[in-house]
Symmetry: C2
Subunit: 137 residues, 2 copies
DNA sequence: AAAAGTACTTGCAAAATGCAAGTGATTTCG
DNA sequence: CGAAATCACTTGCATTTTGCAAGTACTTTT
């Protein structure tokens, strides 16, 4: 299972969609960025209920795309830690704008509304703090 | 063909992906926002070569989601004009961040690089001008 | 009146997704 | 120490979505 990603054109949007243009990939990145998830089992627990084979497929795509990397878990050799690369961390602004847009037009969780309110007040600060969270480690 | 959109959760990102989480939908919005396309035939011409049935399906989803609307073409009754609603126009920042991210990490068209350079210089200005373009009409 | 344009729809093969069960390597528990 | 549980997947198969080619119905051009 190591097919490489085919790019349909040199349009940056098309290229981005060739990587994460589906219903699941950005949810994995969401879990890494906002929910502190790092292991296969944690991704499976999310409320949207991704199937195990789809998760495995998306993790391999994200790794091939250089958005996440694997390393061994400090506590156990049975576990694997997934973490965002610089390329993955740089998706923060994309996710932030999706959240802001979606919250404006849809019915979302109360904590998503609260988060959107913070964005409305000082988006730069929220983004900066997220970046700091992931670049300090 | 009027199935409504099912939302998997109340997460704003998940909800957004339930609407445009595929390889084609955001390309249609791209064409509306950046390439001045407004008709079915124009969308078909894009270099990624969307299939006619997929295009019809995505246009109906975008209309159901309130992102685009149809109106009659002033020149012809055979043509239909598609245009972005306020909800669609508000996707500008999402697309902008995708472009900025994708250009940073991938090999893209020269004019996409040029556009990204403008973003780097003054993103607010580029976004503001895009909004003005679509709200003045 | 015929041909071309426009916005689709239809039929069918191929690919992707979803679900349930299974695998093999750790790790925990008694 | 051995059995059961945990962990990260893989496999098989049914369902759904996509992709391609062709067709349709209406309008416009010639």
């Amino acid at each position: 299972m190591k097919k490489k990603i085919e790019f349909r054109s040199q349009c940056p949007i098309s290229t981005a969609l060739d990587i994460f243009g589906d219903k699941w990939t950005l949810l994995v990145i969401r879990d890494l960025l906002f929910n502190g998830k790092r292991t296969y089992g944690e991704f499976l627990e999310s409320e949207e209920k991704i199937a195990t084979n789809i998760l495995a497929d998306r993790l391999s795509i994200l790794e091939m795309a250089g958005i996440i990397s694997k390393k061994k878990h400090p506590d156990s050799n049975a576990k694997i830690l997934y973490n965002l690369t610089a390329k993955g961390i740089d998706l923060i602004p994309v996710l932030i704008e999706i959240i802001a847009w979606s919250e404006k037009y849809h019915d979302v969780h109360p904590y998503a509304k609260k988060f959107a309110k913070q964005l409305h007040k000082d988006k730069e600060k929220v983004v900066r703090q997220l970046f700091e969270n992931f670049t300090k480690k």
